[in-house]
Structures are given as C-alpha cells and as structure tokens.
Amino acid sequence: MSTSNVLYDHPGPRAKVRNAVLSVVFGVALLGLLYWIYTRFDQANQWEPRLWEPFTRSATWTQFILPGLWATLKAAGVGMLLSLAFGIVFAFGRLSDRWWISVPAGMVVEFFRAVPLLLMIFFIFYGVPFLIKGPVTAFWAVVIGLTLYNGSVLAEAFRAGIRAVPGGQSEAAYAIGMRKNQVMRMILLPQAARAMLPIIVSQLVVLLKDTALGYIVAYPELLQRGVNDLAANYGNIIACAIVAAVIYIVINSLLTWFAGWLDRRTGVRAFRVPKQTAPAGADSTPEGGATVSEPQG
C-alpha cells in the first residue's frame, strides 16, 4: 500500500461534512492547546522582549550560536568519516572466512551497538585519562564515542548490503579469477554502498543529533554554547532552547530530504536491499523498506 488514501473511500457528501466537522473540532482543540501554552509562557513572562532581543544582536550569533554550530558540524563530520571507515573494516571482518577474524569482529559490533553512547563517552572522558595518564579532550571523547556506536550500526548496514548483492555478481567475479579480497573491494562493496546510501545518510542525521551529548562533557557544541552558555548570560533558557531546536530541525530536515532525494535517484539501481535482512537478526535495518533510523539520542 504505497498510498495511504486506499484506506478510505473518496469522500461523498456526508463524509465531506464529517471530515470538515472533525477538522474544525480538532483544529479548535489544537488552537486551544497552543493558546494555553501561550498563556502559560506569558504567565512565566517568557514572551518579554528582553528574552528574545539577544537574538537580534550579532554578538549572540558570532560568539555563541555559530561557533557552537561549527563545533557540532566538526564533531559530526569527523565522526562520520571515522565511523564509515570503522563500518567498512568491521563489515569485512564479520564476513571474513577466518573465524578468528569474524567472531571477534562480530562481538565488537554487537557489544558497541548494545552499549549506550553516553556510557562510552563517560568512559572515554573520565576513565581513559587514568589509563593513559593524560587528559582526553571533550572533542575526542565525543568523536570516538560516536565512531564506535555509529560505526557498529553502519557495519551491520554494510554487511546486510553486501549479503544482498545478487549471488551471480560474486560468482562471476570468482569465475574470472578474482581473489576474495578483490571481489569484496571491487564488486560487492561499490554495489552495496550504493544500495545502502539512504541508510548511511539517515545514520548521519542520528550522528548529528548525538553530538548534542557532547554537552555533558562540556564540549562547546550547539546545545552547550547556544542554550547553556547563552541562557547563563541572558536568563532566557526557553527562548534559547527553541532557537537551537529550530536550527537542529532545519539541518536534519535538509539531510533527511537529501536522503530521500538519493533514494529516489538511485531508484533504478540493479537491486534493492530486501526488507527483512537477517532471519534471526538483532539487525537495525528495519522492515518495510522505510529508512527508520535508530532513535538514538
């Protein structure tokens, strides 16, 4: 059922009236709720111009929001590159013929997918300094945490993608004398990467949102600078949170739109990844063909 309007008939006169009544009733209820929220904000003096005025000053943007946004994008960018590398290495590792490679690789991937990101960031930031006898910067704590978690998710995505390439592809490659390494690198990975592109991009949205956890280890990203520090100066935490949320929503909507555009563009690819990838899978690849990214952080 690709279109949802198969669920109901084309409305006749009575249905039109009923839908209109429902629209009005629900619309009024919604407006009432919004008005109630508005009055509550008003009672708490949240609409005072004093609280919103800082956003018209350039210093607010150049000193707080834009540096925070840049730090967020930097952590997300570095994290994405590293987790792609991690994902490819561990996907290959898990598909290796040698059990002493595939079993440890599988354990690493399963482990890091099951451990909360926050726990890893805490360990890297507070625990690792005791081991290496030196401090770990907040930036690397966030980036390494993001890499381990998202890299493991991507490893599973790549593995599912590689396994979904039609068997004839690798058979043909073996038949012309390629080694396993060559088959993987030259035949399977390019096709798998193309098929998994939408999932990879939607994982980037997850990764970008997860950088907000950097707030907890005082990494100066958007939540830290644009909400925490800015509100400490002006006492306008709700206004700051709303502005920061809008920025996150705009960036992530653009990325989601990009993922959808890629999906449509690669719609003519040779094969599609089947809906259920692993039979007994704790796989993150969802069923139903939709790219429902894992709702981490």
């Binding site: 109901y8 409305p11 839908n19 708490a44 451990v115 909360p116 726990l119 949205v205 069923e287």
Partner: protein, 224 residues
Amino acid sequence: MDVFTDPENLDAFVSGFVWILKLTGASAVCALVIGVLLAAMRVSPVPVLRVFGAAWVNIFRNTPLTLVVFFCYFGLYATLGLSLSQELDVNIYWLGVIGLSTYTAAFVCEAVRSGINTVPTGQAEAARAIGLSFAQTLRIVVLPQAARSVIAPFGSILIALCKNATIVGTIGLVEASSVMKDLLNSYGNAVILIFLVFAGTFAALLIPTGYFFGWLANRLAVKR
C-alpha cells in the same frame, strides 16, 4: 576489585539500573500509545490530523533527545512550574518519561506507518468494499496485519529507548550512567572493570532482547 564489594556501590549500581528499567517501561507504554495514535492520524482522511501527525514526527525526530529532555526539565519544570511529584527524583523521573515518550513516539509512528505500507492494497480495498469505515478498516483489518511486520522495528526502538534512558541522567536522575561516572571518578585504578560491568549489564539486557524480537518477528511474520 573492591569496587563492587562495597555494599554502598552495589546499591548505587542496582538502583541505577532500576531507574533505567522504570524509565524504559513507562516510556515504552506511553510512546506505543501515542505513536499508534499519531500513525492513525497520519493516514486519516482529515487533513488537520495528517498535518498534526507529520509536524510531530518532523519536529521530534529531528531534535536531539538531549535537547528534548533538557527542555522538559528547564522549560516545563523550572520555568513553567510543571511539578509532577513532591519528591525531587520522582519528579525528574516523570519529566524524563515525558521527554522520552514524546521523542520515541515519533519513531513508533514512522514504524507503524511503514508497517501499514506492507499490508497488501487488496486487504484495505476488500474492507472498504464490504462497507467498513476508515476507523474500522484500520482497526479490524489493517493494523492487526501491520502489527506483525512492525515487531522487528519495535525491537530496535525498544532497545534504543533503553539506551536513551541514560540521557535522563543529564537532568539529574542518578541512573546507571551517572553512577558509572561517579565510580570512575572515585576508583581511578579500576576504570576498565567499572566500564565492563556497566556496559556488560546493558549488553546482557539488550542483546538477548534483540534476538528475542528477531525470533518473534520471524515467527509471527505473515508469509506472502
């Protein structure tokens, strides 16, 4: 090795994970109810409902959970004065449940909607042909079939929810990750052991859950 033999630390460890389980349980129920309602709105014939469902999903799916939870505490509680309990930690717990369930509901909604898409068109057409209304079609024919195909995504969402519950620690609930942070700071000689115990507990909870949902999804899958 004496970190976990100290009964005080052991109590903190247990209560940390009890908070995680409580957060997961309450939020899972709320998110499931809200998410299914949102999915029903998104496929309904009433445009206002569709817009509302789509707006909810787009707003909460694209906002970091940390920011949502942050807003629940500083916005709803500290500024607007929404207090749900006299006790401080119980109050934070419910604020966390609000944040986790509004956020997770967006993902449940999308999973249900993609589940509805796996039900063959003929099912809904036949339901309409025998005169069922939209609500009846959805409730009696489409959702029960969709439910079987959303078990695997629900498993992923539940696992992510349990991991996300640690984020409530950022607004001051002493859950597992906060306990781990405190232990790391006071026992610098046993950091690897501490991490392995906490991470291992999460893995021991979540990896079997993943396999269970995989098994269940396979068992209940509609063979077409």
